[in-house]
Amino acid sequence: MNIKHSNSPKSATRFANAAVNELGWWGAHRFLILRRISQLSVLSLFAIGPFLGLWLLKGNLSTSLLLDTIPLSDPLVTLQVLMSGHWPEISLLLGAVIIVGIYALLGGRVFCSWVCPVNIVTDLASWIRRKLSLPRTSEIPKNLRYYMLGLVLILPILTGVTVWEWLNPVPVVYRAILFGAGSGLWVLAVIFLLDTFVVERAWCSHLCPTGALFSLIGKVSPIKIAAIRAEACNNCMDCFTVCPERQVLKPVLKKGSIQPFILDSDCTLCGRCIDVCAPRVFQYTNRFNSNNSNRIPLKVESKL
């Protein structure tokens, strides 16, 4: 009954074993660990305020004040407020502009993988899925998140209230920790169960409207992950197994592709593909790095 990948010689061995052997444990987990440190650091910067009285960052991920001067605001929350017909104070708008600027530069969905606390939960769900070899029970379209984004922005027009903020799991988690509003964590539990038992990567990769907006913002970003050594790829599929948006990997690994950059802005730039790849195919780079752009087509392809 237990059907494994018949074409993979390492199906019986541990996931990404080759990468651990080749790059060492740290090498094969670098970006995962760094991301967790980053996510928890952001949370800590907020939390040391209410808990220790060190007010570097006030507020939460919806809106915050850095060092009592620089406003930072979630663009989705700001858009909802605007859609509800309320013209906010200039600091909220400025905060949103700053955040949009930062993520347009760094890559939109860097937020998802390096900052968002929900990512820890959905990555956990995904890890459990892999450990238990749970079957995919159903599929939902990837672009459903853009419908969600539209919905989140239309509802304030219809109701006059920022409806999505009742449920938005990102601030819910932050409020739970910073303001002791633990009862909202049921949203996280639902997402965890959904991701683990219903649809693989359901929340972050299919539904989350915040991620959808950041994906749009990231379209202009110069920072990309590139398959700089695609010719070394041995089709072990580890990157596909671990990638939360595996459709973004296909264009760069496809035989004959001369495009090394993962241009699809759904890529969260989490760097897990770099971690798990023993032949060191991937690397963080920027779009203008010409060292990568003169890649020659694969030999197999030149026959076609």
């Binding site: 006030k58 406003p71 605001s73 407020v81 906010p88 905060g95 459903l144 920022t162």
Partner: protein
Amino acid sequence: MSKINSKLASVNGVNRRQFLATTAKASCVMGMVGLGLTTVSTQSRPLDPFAIRPPGALPEDDFLSACVRCGLCVEACPYDTLKLARWFDGAPTGTPYFTARNIPCEMCDDIPCVKACPSGSLDQKLDNIDDSKMGIAVLIDEKNCLNFRGLRCDVCYRVCPLIDKAITLVLQRNEKSDHHAMFLPTINPDLCTGCGKCEHACVTEQAVIKVLPRHIAMGKAAAHDTYQHTEETTLEMLNKGLSL
């Protein structure tokens, strides 16, 4: 349809039929989600109609459209008065409110909560805390109020930051003893800020004076009601009568 034909009739590998089906399905799903969300949000609004908002808060509906639920006002409050509503608290989740019976508003002169608000859900134009309208105190239970029972409690009157303005003691003959006075705490809704100090200080086990949101505390005369200026018209009539 042959494979070639279906290929020809498609964009990005999706043909018209699939496209229409997907769009219809997605629209249905989104419609349901939207309906659910709207229902939850509008249904739970009246769950806690007594949530008292921070100073300068816009009227409830405007407040809910403006508030980004960041908690900056909560962190700015030096007296831990403000709380962010949790799920099942009643007030919309993540919005600031306070429970006057636990910690009332201390009416800071510099109004730090309003200054901290980035969205304008707390009106930045509020510069005098005495002008704030967080709610209105209502002596809701005369039966258990000690002053109404002929005693001299007066605690609500004495703790009021606007003593003798927002709350006055109105003297009235005590019919029970026939030779005492009753000092009845009386609230002037034009001046009451709704800080809740009276509710906080009320000595009875359950406060007999409570701060209610303005829209619940206040009645409203009908537009056609000609008795609105009774006093004026009566005086006019009397004056006319006298001049005769």
